[in-house]
Symmetry: C2
Subunit: 160 residues, 2 copies
Amino acid sequence: MRLTTKGRFAVTAMIDVAMHGEHGPVTLSAVSERQKISLSYLEQLFGKLRRHGLVDSVRGPGGGYNLARGAETVSVADVILAVDEPIDATQCGGLENCLDDHRCMTHELWSGLNAHIFTYLRSVTLAELVRQQESRARGETVVMRDHRPPSPRSTEPVTA
Amino acid sequence: MRLTTKGRFAVTAMIDVAMHGEHGPVTLSAVSERQKISLSYLEQLFGKLRRHGLVDSVRGPGGGYNLARGAETVSVADVILAVDEPIDATQCGGLENCLDDHRCMTHELWSGLNAHIFTYLRSVTLAELVRQQESRARGETVVMRDHRPPSPRSTEPVTA
DNA sequence: ATATAGTTGACTAAATCATTCGGGAATAGT
DNA sequence: ACTATTCCCGAATGATTTAGTCAACTATAT
């Protein structure tokens, strides 16, 4: 489970499609203009999204892309996994052949954190992000649900 | 808020320090051997971790690194932000100068998802990951707390 | 027919990742 | 003082990823 600008571009684009898809397919040129993402890059991303069954394509004039499933059933994790195929970074190739003294702690740590983040991103749906976005467009203050208060103290800057 | 192997190396290494730091400073060579991360790479990462006040260093024989704060007060977000300084990927440079028609939706979407993920990673502490790791070492089954059930359905593979 | 729009593949500059190397500076033990 | 240990720093490097361009193609609505 990686999380880079690439995956975010894909999520952004998917939200755009979800928000503008009510009156027929959404063209990539429209997404490109609204989200300021290069058309060819979008083509690459939507190629993967389509092959993973997240969007349906309609060719020809009036064509474009539609969500293949309801926005409620598409998670951020789905989108990211589609465009950003995960890598195995555990040296031991996922196998348990690395049990020198305490059974490859690296492997355990990785999969542990992976599972945490994956579980979380899997729980965030496109529909949720769309709702949040529509609220903001109406000038409302978006209240983020806290998932596990209280947060630990920190002296770090809060810019993410 | 990026999330790459680099940040994960840093988190892994920090957990290692947290788990082995009870009897004095932990050397990077030890971390390197246990976690199979190159020593020089660790030096780069710990340089940043130190400059961000997450670890203290002790030079000379018997030296090494200690956590600068308690593991309960260090979040995954802290560690990742330290080694992986965040980029601004909103075209408009964070300013609101991009209000052509609907005030730079890209900007809103980005910061929205950023905030979601950041809020989550900020709520996961090193101490928590250490506890999970120690449980696994004892052969226990780690039960992951669900943060927002129910998860959306998905036809995607679940390998992360 | 023609214009629209998806589909595919090759290619590229720039950035990032992960590592290696070489040399320093501080300190504990002798 | 000497030496081994360990942190500290910067430069260089190959591999990969990012983000984008270009070109040719197929399907389809008018």
